[in-house]
Amino acid sequence: MADMAAAIISERMQFNSEDASALAKELRVGFDSGKTRSYQWRASQIEALIKLTQNHEEEIVRALYSDLSKPHTEAFVHELAANLSVVLIFVLSLIMAVEEPRRVFDAEAASSLMKELRGTFASGKTRSYEWRVSQLKTFLKLLDDHEQEIVDGLLSDLSKPPLESVVYEIGMLKNSCKVVLKELKHWMKPEKAKTSITTFPSSAEIVSEPLGVVLVISAWNYPFLLSLDPVIGAIAAGNAVVLKPSEIAPATSSLMAKLLGEYMDSSCIRVVEGAVDETSALLQQKWDKIFYTGNGRIGRIVMTAAAKHLTPVVLELGGKSPVVVDSNINLQVASRRIIAGKWGCNNGQACISPDYIITTKDYAPKLVDALKTELEAFYGEHPLESKDLSRIVNSNHFARLTKLLDEDKVSGKIVYGGERNESKLRIAPTLLLDVPRNSMIMNEEIFGPLLPIITVDKLEESFDVINSGTKPLAAYLFTNNKKLKEQFVKTISAGGLVVNDTTLHLAVHTLPFGGVGESGIGAYHGKFSFDAFSHKKAVLYRSFLGDAALRYPPYTNTKLRVMKALIGGGILGIIRALFGWS
């Protein structure tokens, strides 16, 4: 703003009242946007001032000398400015800290937020096609305008490789938006339903109506995608929505709060940042749907809270997603696809990452060799240094993973990798062969760069291994054997199955994405997201004509006979009944 105003002044020699009013107007727009209110903005401006004085010291001194003939101001200006700025920042942080308690998000704040959003929803604003489309278009613009910031945020939270961020987080979101923008009109149209003779004459349709005010609680591993993909669904279906991003990815969380605040319609789309207290405050409210992505433990807390208000939930959880590898396959392609799904997706910190491999005893050594070769081709000899791998999100998870690795019966099974760097929170891609089934690593979701390989005598046994555990979110099979494929689809229960690849089903918006059993409840993506946030309202139109006396009391036996004929079908039966022949 200041630069622009300065430019105006220097361009024209005279600064008149018109200019002044334009300037004031422009600054007001800037102020109204709320930009100047944040602590970050204030501090950054003051820092910029310090930089200004440092970089342009000489010029300032010269100007002062020419205006006031003040000599020897060099040191003075520099120090004063620097000291002043430091003091200012300090004072500012104090003031903001005093303000802080007022901004804590407690039950009261949650309830007033809910009241406000209910009001907006009741106004009907979010129901119109135009509002939904305009919000999604604005969101696409947000993604275009701030790609670099998003990539930086993910880099800071997870050291996520920029390409992964652009493709899996931003790219997927853009795709979701585009699908909605293309299909929404069609989705919103009431779906005609057939009517039968029992209700003749009538017509029926199924109307998708928004549920109301919904809550999205998301995860830290794909903090951008997993937060905003459900939000897109909620908007597409015409709901008001509150997003609670994960506090474990703080940079992305605050970036989303900032960007959504700037771009989206804040009367119906809100971000509440925070951890346990804020989440509890939110969960006390009566929502019309809660969409949670994360683990089963918190999923249970969410569902318990939802039960109080009879709120339907979608729970996107995880599980141990197995990969079954047959012999007689293109081993290089298979290994690459396993690596892309495991380490190439946030270094194994994804809910659909391959968790463990099952293969035959004979084939295991070949598979290990192929994986080693490809891993080295992808991440080099020093994977701890590779910029193409995310880091472990925090020290808690680092400790959890090293504990899995250091268990006595497991530590000797490492056949590749195993290196770690605690200060940088990095663990190299690690392969383990023949870990015991009762080890910790085989009894919890790994969610990191460790990949155990289990061996069986015959591949068919792998299905029993999988079915003896809880139902995973995904299951993968590499084979050319048609019968095995059929068997796999028939006997393995999982959220989704992929044959001869990993994780790709996530990107197919025509497939529902969601778990079953321990891996979750409900599904989303594409039209399924729209459906997850809609109520399917049955609408039946009847005319006043076509009334059948047989529906009404007083009841007689003829009425019963006709009804039976109607239900049994067949026009002959109806005629016979009407004539009293049966």
Binding site: E147, Q148, V151, P161, P162, L163, E164, G171, N175, A193, K194, T195, T199, I206, V207, E209, L211, G212, D288, R300, M303, A306, A307, K308, L310, P312, L315, L317, V333, R336, A340, G344, Y379, D388, K485, G496, L497, V498, V499, N500, D501, L511, P512, F513, G517, A523, K536, K537, A538, V539, L540, Y541, R542, R551, Y552, P553, T556, L560, M563, I567
Partner: protein, 483 residues
């Protein structure tokens, strides 16, 4: 404790049987559905007797609302089963060359159905094993299901467990793959809270106060039809003891007397001068509910609003069809689901005001609107929320297999009927099949600027762009250094 262990064992047996894969076979499902149909056809008399005993329900009403509807559902399930069971192809972009995607329905496993008369049609059609817990408030029906039904079905897959709320509590402690509950919001909350332990998905079919909005119809023919349909939707559905019974009427003040007169005429025609003698109206299910209803009427201000009926026979648990005009809105009769033969009429200045009235209360399971005004129809659909909306009739949406039946908000979630029942008891499994042949090398690290660009155009399904990049004809814009 003993019974709890026995119960655990029974559920365990069902799980073992499910895991044997038997129930997944199409032929097994068909046999069970046929068995259910034979039971209904062969035991019709016994069913009527049980309903008569429990509720004094007239056998024609019983056929129309229970046996007949069930047979119709079974016929549909039998004729559609193959189609329902086959997977649906899902579209893929051309870029996913040599790949295919489909959605395959698979059974959920062992399911629990808690309700009065719900047949396990959907559960069986979808290939699950199931426990039915019929309502203890209708003991004759419950006993009939337990003794009669099972001889028509595979006992290893379907069990009927009778008992009181304590049994329900024990059942809820078991691990289920789905719980389907029909009943009150209060118990619904308990069911959902217990489902948390094993993350069991639930369908809750609850009730609510279903309003019937009656516009000031001008033709006398229409008025008559509307009145008949409302009366049958209230007093003819187990004396109002159904979750989709009309709970109260909304009407314009100026139309009230016309409506009321017509209602009185038709009440007499349908139910006679002395409804108790004609046996057309069912009785109240038990003493407790009788007293609850009696209590609703006891309120002095409600008494003052009575315009028709109001007599009660405590010994026979019978309540005469009763109408009142404008009882106080804060009285229990207007805040609780009535679930009985009492019908309040609430007047509004303009019929459009009923939208606000409906929206200020919990979302009902059904909304009935009698009007020929199309703009009012449109407003009712888009500005109110309910499980279903039926124009110019009552109850029959229940019989439309092509419509999902279920609530929203306080009236529940999840739905069933026809194909929706099958879906309710199925998991839609996503299947993606790939070949080893097509492969984009740019899917894999180490990441380069070029791969980045290729992935981006591939994600946008921009085929021309992909070609240009491959030929090196398109330059990468911006961002390059960061990758």
């Amino acid at each position: 404790m003993n019974s709890s262990i026995a119960l655990e064992r029974e559920v365990e047996e069902l799980r073992e049987y499910y895991e044997s894969g038997k129930t997944k076979e199409a032929s097994w499902r068909e046999t069970q559905l046929r068995g259910l149909r034979s039971f209904l056809q062969e035991k019709e008399e016994e069913i009527f007797k049980a309903l008569e005993k429990d509720l004094r329900k007239h056998h024609i009403e019983a056929f129309r609302d229970e046996v007949g509807t069930l047979i119709k559902s079974l016929n549909l399930a039998l004729s559609s089963l193959k189609q329902w069971m086959s997977g649906k192809k899902a579209k893929l972009p051309n870029i996913a060359l040599l790949s295919s995607a489909e959605i395959v329905p698979e059974p959920l496993g062992v399911v629990l159905i808690i309700s009065s008369w719900n047949f396990p049609i959907g559960a069986v059609a979808a290939g699950n094993t199931a426990v039915l817990k019929p309502s203890e408030l209708a003991p004759a029906c419950s006993a009939l299901l337990a003794s009669g039904l099972l001889s028509y079905l595979d006992k290893k897959a379907i069990k009927v467990i009778q008992g009181d709320p304590e049994v329900v509590k024990q059942l809820l402690e078991q691990r289920w793959d789905k719980i389907f509950f029909t009943g009150s919001p209060r118990v619904g909350r308990i069911v959902m809270s217990s489902a948390v332990k094993y993350l069991t998905p639930v369908t809750l079919e609850l009730g609510g106060k279903c309003p019937a909005v009656i516009d000031s119809l001008s033709s006398s023919f229409d008025r008559e039809v509307a009145v008949k349909r409302i009366l049958v939707g209230k007093f003819g559905t187990c004396a109002g003891q159904a979750c989709i019974s009309v709970d109260y009427i909304l009407v314009e003040k100026s139309f009230t007397s016309v409506l009321l007169d017509l209602m009185k005429v038709w009440m007499k025609k349908m139910f006679g001068e002395n409804p108790r003698e004609l046996k057309t109206v069912a009785r109240i299910v038990n003493k407790q509910h009788f007293l609850r209803l009696k209590n609703l009427l006891a309120d002095q201000r409600v008494q003052e609003s009575l315009v028709y009926g109001g007599s009660m026979d405590e010994d026979n648990l019978f309540i005469e069809p009763t109408i009142m005009v404008n009882p106080p809105l804060e009285a229990a009769i207007m805040t609780e689901e009535i679930f009985g033969p009492l019908l309040p009429i609430i007047t509004v200045e303009k019929i459009e005001d009923s939208i606000k009235f409906i929206n200020s209360r919990p979302k009902p399971l059904a909304l009935y609107v009698f009007t020929k005004n199309q703009s009012l129809q449109r407003r009712m659909i888009s500005e109110t929320s309910s499980g279903s909306v039926t124009f110019n009739d009552t109850i029959i949406q229940y019989a439309a297999d092509s419509l999902p039946f279920g609530g929203v908000g306080e009236s529940g979630f999840g739905n069933y009927h026809g194909k929706f029942s099958f879906d309710t008891f199925s998991h839609e499994k996503a299947i993606l099949r790939r070949s080893f042949l097509t492969e984009f090398w740019f899917r894999f690290p180490p990441w380069t600027v070029n791969k980045h660009q290729l992935l981006e155009v591939a994600y946008n399904y921009d085929y021309l762009g992909l070609l240009l990049v491959l030929l090196g004809l398109r330059r990468f814009k911006g961002r390059g250094s960061s990758v």
